[in-house]
Assembly symmetry: C2
Homo-oligomer: 778 residues x 2
Amino acid sequence: MANITKKVSWSSRADESASSASTGVGEGTPLLNGSEGPRFSRQDLIRAQTREIPHNEKLLSLKYEGLDYDNIENQLFLEEERRMSHMGFQCLEISRWVVCGLIGFLTGLIACFIDIAVENLAGLKYEVIKRNIENFTETGGLSISLILWGGFNAAVVMMGSILVAFFEPIAGGSGIPQIKCYLNGVKIPRVVRLKTLIVKVVGVICSVVGGLAVGKEGPMIHSGAVVAAGVSQGRSTSLKKDFKMFEYFRRDTEKRDFVSAGAAAGVSAAFGAPVGGVLFSLEEGASFWNQMLTWRIFFASMVSTFTLNFFLSVYNKKTGDLSNPGLINFGRFESESVEYYFYEIPLFIAMGALGGLLGALFNVLNYWLTIFRIRYVHRPCLQVMEAMLVAAVTATVSFTMIYFSNDCQPLAPENNEEYPLQLFCSDGEYNAMATAFFNTPERSVRSLFHNQPGSYNPLTLGLFTLTYFFLACWTYGLAVSAGVFIPSLLIGAAWGRLCGILLASFSSNSSLWADPGKYALIGAAAQLGGIVRMTLSLTVIMVEATGNVTYGLPIMLVLMTAKIVGDYFIEGLYDIHIKLQSVPFLHWEAPATSHWLTAREVMSSPVTCLNRIENVGTIVDTLSNTSTNHNGFPVVAHTLGNDEPGKLCGLILRSQLIVLLKHKVFVELARSRLTHRKLQLKDFRDAYPRFPPIQSIHVSQDERECMMDLTEFMNPTPYTVPQDTSLPRVFKLFRALGLRHLVVVDNENRVVGLVTRKDLARYHMGKHGLEELQLAQT
Amino acid sequence: MANITKKVSWSSRADESASSASTGVGEGTPLLNGSEGPRFSRQDLIRAQTREIPHNEKLLSLKYEGLDYDNIENQLFLEEERRMSHMGFQCLEISRWVVCGLIGFLTGLIACFIDIAVENLAGLKYEVIKRNIENFTETGGLSISLILWGGFNAAVVMMGSILVAFFEPIAGGSGIPQIKCYLNGVKIPRVVRLKTLIVKVVGVICSVVGGLAVGKEGPMIHSGAVVAAGVSQGRSTSLKKDFKMFEYFRRDTEKRDFVSAGAAAGVSAAFGAPVGGVLFSLEEGASFWNQMLTWRIFFASMVSTFTLNFFLSVYNKKTGDLSNPGLINFGRFESESVEYYFYEIPLFIAMGALGGLLGALFNVLNYWLTIFRIRYVHRPCLQVMEAMLVAAVTATVSFTMIYFSNDCQPLAPENNEEYPLQLFCSDGEYNAMATAFFNTPERSVRSLFHNQPGSYNPLTLGLFTLTYFFLACWTYGLAVSAGVFIPSLLIGAAWGRLCGILLASFSSNSSLWADPGKYALIGAAAQLGGIVRMTLSLTVIMVEATGNVTYGLPIMLVLMTAKIVGDYFIEGLYDIHIKLQSVPFLHWEAPATSHWLTAREVMSSPVTCLNRIENVGTIVDTLSNTSTNHNGFPVVAHTLGNDEPGKLCGLILRSQLIVLLKHKVFVELARSRLTHRKLQLKDFRDAYPRFPPIQSIHVSQDERECMMDLTEFMNPTPYTVPQDTSLPRVFKLFRALGLRHLVVVDNENRVVGLVTRKDLARYHMGKHGLEELQLAQT
């Protein structure tokens, strides 16, 4: 069982490397609670580790650390602020804008690169296979074409999958759940590294060219985030290059802000939706809305779309025409097809409900599949083989569907087919099934939206929906870099168009339902909403990608219905995956019925406190103690024995102590070496974010006897709550201010406990009221 | 001088009634600070009240109370929560959605009513005057037409102005500054009352029909907010009708959420911009982003647009066609004119800079005008006369401009003129100046956007820009209900189109600049951005009103440039008016250079504290003491004499104490009358929000000797900060959680001070670093 629990992580290898690199586990939550934490006894934990766990999402991993969005206003910080002039602050503000502009520019370039690479490679592939199929259609021996197609797909997907499975498992999937967690305040190891970015970009090109049922849009969000994290720090730890720029931004708060901008720029580039990007960032990440920050995020988004457009316009030899934004373009909906009527609203809502149902089915199937993968497919080579299998099966199924389809359509100039396959159709006709299967998913979506009424017969669409649904479901969660947006849109567009055609055929006045493309759009929105359950941002993204505001209301109604229906059965796909990783994710509010829980019951206790002037040996021992693994330590005025807790006078982080130990900031040394350089914020920034583990710091026996004065370095005014504060109140404070540690004090201002992310994430609303998750050392 | 200071309020009459109705001044800020608050001595205050004050915006009024967005989690509340089942919470959630739906519906209806009323009345007016002018053009005697026009305008405006000046001054202007303040957490008296709504709606119809340079869009935002505040409370205090519904929502937190939704619904109805509405609410009001709340706001916005569209489509005999949303519709930009090219971007930016300059000029002029009005035009009858004067002058100027214009254009079917004036043009032609002046501003904007190239000659546009600029500037701030959006758009559209025409004439290849309508749109955005300085929301509103996403990037660039350029000179128009009212408005962040200020220096001290079990006489005296006028009182365990402050154990509000006194919740009475009904949250909710003043509550001499037990009613866990907390830290906590009182405690958890809104709003960033505003009893 321990083995299985262990594999509940973003992927098996990320897990291993994370636990060795991690500086410590938990935010000060002692793994073994003392007597004051009755809700979580040692028995619970042992049970969690020894019992067969039927539902992995009932666990909360202790592996993930939190990010610290609270500013540490220690004396060093205040001195630095005091030295800074008004001008200095303005320069900082300007450099924030510059960084955001750079983020947008680079994200746009990456999107451009992905787009051009995919276009060319996929074009090459489809050309070769098309010629091959045409050759063999008359002579017979189409099985050779199938083998060519399947083999090519499997080979390309293998490359992408090897990269992901062996080199950087965190780059798998769409990356959206990981970025959601990061913005929420959870440190996902290696998620914003340069290596991750490279694997992600190359991986997604392989996946799309390999013909999997995936999109290249989701990974753009992750790519944008990595770019942002890199640019804003003004250095690359991987390349060991420090540009000595933007040093002020080397802390969690600033970095998070930039990562928000990066994610927004990614959405913006992917869908040509700058406003949607901003809303995505806010919906997924923000807790405190800040106008200037939002405006900067918007700037990054705009620059990103702009860059992508400009370079694509140059590439497409239409330099300067910036009117076609985004990687996916839903195409221009013509005015006559744009209008909808009052009586169509109930139909849209019904389609939304259907989308919710299908989305829930998709999520349930994917949930089971993911559980299965966690248990049995966790070795990298198995993962690569599964990816290749899926690639081959996708090709085979597509080929079979095209082969047996007899839906022939006349070649018309307005049905702008890229690779029309004639196959067994008569001359001047093409196989309609092939427009859906023998194409990149983006183009298939566009065809479904815009092809003339009558371009598809209902059976083709029905079969396509069915097969693509299962293929997409099987594909999501493979060890490849790929997004789920486009497959969802494609499934929805197919059944949406089917609905449109059926409506037209049932109705006496067929001109009323003339345009099945409209229903394809609504279906696409419904299906996507049913799977990912995003709300406001998705509406805006869809509207921006459509390029037409008129559909705002129906799309919104459809997304809302899909969300309500879907939520009745199961959560959104991203949330499922986050839960399966046991990430301590904080939702927007505490569970509604949790007012009776107080900080006293929620907090971790007893807490290891340090004295204001503390013995070095004690500090080293505390940091080395693997059974506690705290990351934050309340500093108290003086502890009178072990029984009476001391009065709170500050809070210090493990990372700060590590830097202090490394620089040997001991009271005795300071006295002897008067010329010794005073420690500055720069030293902390240089070490950020990869602080060395305590084991790597050598402290001699003599030094252990020295004392350390923490006064200058600790945060002198940490936020506190009294013991009787209710959980929702604690939650609100914690979430709104992005805290990592919240000190619980008694009436005399003495430390009695510490509330961390895990203590709050533990409680959630189940079907039968408040439930608690179990902590596990996964 | 005292007289002048006194008039610095939303209007003179609101001020008087507010001060008599108000239950108290200040949030616990003692007007006369004790020795511990050295930054604000009594001398400062006296100086503020006796010295001639050159800049009114350097004052901070003590008149405004704060709203309490923090939940009072006292025992009554916890008991109620405990009694509520999981089902109960779900019902609450559903009723929130129902309320939002109702808000959207009613706001849409109001918008519909305004639109139809304005269309018909203005249509009637222009028909009559047009016929009159046509009659007199040949016979001579056009001066009679002028008198008719001017007289009609003045009469209609007089009606609107009398309503505003005599009955409800708070309904004057666009209402956006007031709603901004409300959402920020400042209680503006009477701003969300039914009477205000009625005056607002009738007033805006009069203003627009009266031909003033105003729009009907701004007031919709205020109207939506009033509707929201009314509907969500399930009763009308004005009508003395309690529907016994939604009682749970009778508190500041819930009400604010609904008012956000109402404001969004207003924007949505006004501009057909549901997403823009949501962003407006968030940009102006939100501090804590909550996904469910945002989604509900979006729902209200959507319902509002939908309702408006539906009823307008019925009215326009095109039932069911929902494709033309909003009160103002920029019309559909055709595909060929939609595109823009890379080389146009610098031009757009230059136009943005021009918009910023013109906007700053507008704001400076309006600022001087407002100062003048505050000093000399504060009597209602003077205000009415000024409004009539403006109306007459507007008509005269318009008439003169039309009269002397010789810009004749051929009547073409595509230039869809509503009231073409032939005047001295030859047959089959019309006066181009009249399309701009002889029309509702909304229609003029549309003509400037969409009329064929060549419909206006440059001189016409130049003269129109010049005159309309000064007219609009004079009009804003009159005692009429009117918005500034449309006049700004109109000015901008005029000079924007002028730019387009000039570019085309300078360029050799005129087809490159074929469409001056595009430049009209950019100019409109630049001018509006330069005046109001809204950012993200304005971009989205413009994009949604245009109905085309393609212009997103240029509009954003233009708005950003306009904001940067404009901010260099003076603040946005709304912010100027807020400052001139000396409202304690909290911005997004504390001033950058304020880290050296701590809670000790910022807080008000000493604080009047109450004991947990307190003497009734003491409470009555404390509440009656006009020199302190606190609104919140820390409750302490036991005060040992006056010197040593007691340990904090709760916080109780003036309004709660009033209710307790009214129900005579005394310890002695509880003992004697065992059957006495226990006080419930319902009693507090019934009294909300108009708690009676302490003077109206009779407490006999015997009762004064009784004791009151505050334990059950006080908030037992108020947020606290230690004395050394820096101002930005205090600010962040205060702003993020929407607090009204923040208790400052010492190391022993004893109360040493109280931080309220005014203490934080006092510090702001001036040209030369940190500045302090002076508190004044305006």
